[in-house]
């Protein structure tokens, strides 16, 4: 069993808005990723995601996301099995459930940021793959393109459902995500430090 915690600064227009934490835990054949964040307004950590991935083939097993809205909390859970995924959305307005057919290569939206370190191959190739966005219960086509690289890092352009993200990774093991720039979201994540 090994646990690694990555700490990122949440930055918008050169202002630090808070911190995002990713806890990556490896137990036998499972990798569990949990994230939570603190903002300058509230010191209380807020739950963000929990993701369970099969270590061998990187297939997602379970994904859970928490969203706070003025009326309460929304939870979106995706339970993956071999050929389908059950998505359950619970909100103050009610509950909705759906089942979708998936292919073997379908990733969960939340696991994409960790793909290079999970694959551990050091190959940052251009590719396209199906991605489930649990909040909308839809499978989209995610696209990754290598746009730049230097001695220590690689910059990838990741597009999904009309949105663009720029992901910068370490070129060496463990291929950590160094920065995530989200021009459409208005905030960036920058790796602060790593706690073991």
């Amino acid at each position: 069993m090994a646990t690694e915690t990555l700490k990122y600064s949440i930055i918008s227009r050169d202002l630090v808005l808070g911190e995002m934490f990713y806890e990556i835990e490896t137990i036998d054949q499972k990798i569990i990723i949990r994230s939570f964040f603190v903002t300058n307004q509230s010191e209380e950590p807020q739950k963000d995601i929990e993701l369970i991935i099969n270590r061998e083939d990187l297939a997602p097993k379970l994904s859970k996301k928490w969203l706070k809205i003025s009326e309460g909390e929304i939870t979106i859970e995706a339970q993956y099995s071999q050929e389908k995924v059950d998505v359950i959305l619970e909100s103050p307005y009610g509950k909705k459930e759906t089942s979708l057919k998936i292919t073997e290569s379908t990733f969960d939206m939340e696991q994409i940021f960790f793909l290079p370190s999970l694959e551990n191959s050091g190959k940052f190739i251009d590719r396209q793959f199906p991605v489930l966005v649990p909040a909308s219960g839809m499978i989209w086509s995610g696209k990754i393109l290598k746009v730049d690289e230097d001695e220590n890092s690689v910059l990838l352009k990741y597009t999904l459902a009309g949105e663009i993200l720029y992901l910068q990774y370490e070129k060496a093991v463990p291929y950590r995500l160094l920065t995530m720039k989200a021009p459409n979201r208005g905030y960036d994540l920058i790796l602060k430090d790593e706690m073991k």
Binding site: S12, Y93, L100, V133, L160, A161, G162, E163
Partner: protein, 255 residues
Amino acid sequence: MNIFIVPLITIFIINILFYLIFFRKKPLSLQNWITIFFFPFILVMIIPYHQVERFFLNRLAGFLPVFSINSILVIVELILLSVSLLFLLKVTKKSGIELFRYFLLIGVGLGCGRFFRNVILVWYHPLSSFFGYGQFSNFITGFFIAQEILQILIVIVSSGFLGIGLMRLTKKQHSAGIMSIIFAFCILEIDALVQVLFQYVPSFAFFSAVYVISILPLLFILGGVFLWISYRRQEKKELETKKASTDVVSDSSVS
């Protein structure tokens, strides 16, 4: 089935109010009403709008491409309105500015069809109806209904402008006609632009908070005022033309 009651009641009330405001003095037969209302209503429902949006969003990303997709969809809606307006000319024997109320009825039909399509998508789509640039919505709430009603009003205004524009073109008032068609496009395009701005440009994110309570009502009020001015001008012009032609006829009969 209960899930459709609120949207269906909303559509029914909109029709009643519209009838009372525009058709109370010069009524329209129920059969004609149903024909004119349901033609654009069905037309907008059968176009695979969301599939088109999804096809493009799987290939393009970022503010400008998404705005372009949005603009294409606005043009598709204007084409649907134009087809409905041409269909209207076949159904009714009216002509000239008398058709104005019918142009608005076409807008009611298309707006209500769009609303009903969105309601169906909210309930029949796995989890939510809106993706890409559309507003995120998983459940039919009062806020959702308010937004849809305001969007119906905007489609009505756009349909009014388009009708006047096409009518002006047939009367060889080319520049005024083109201007009206541009207005018809602009009112839908501004709504589309605002939605893309608050989703894709972070500095405009605050628009999402004022979209339903300020931007949509303002767009409707401004569009409505300009439409009313256009209508009055066209009415005046037609009266002058009629008067001039009557004068010519009476002059020639005297001589």
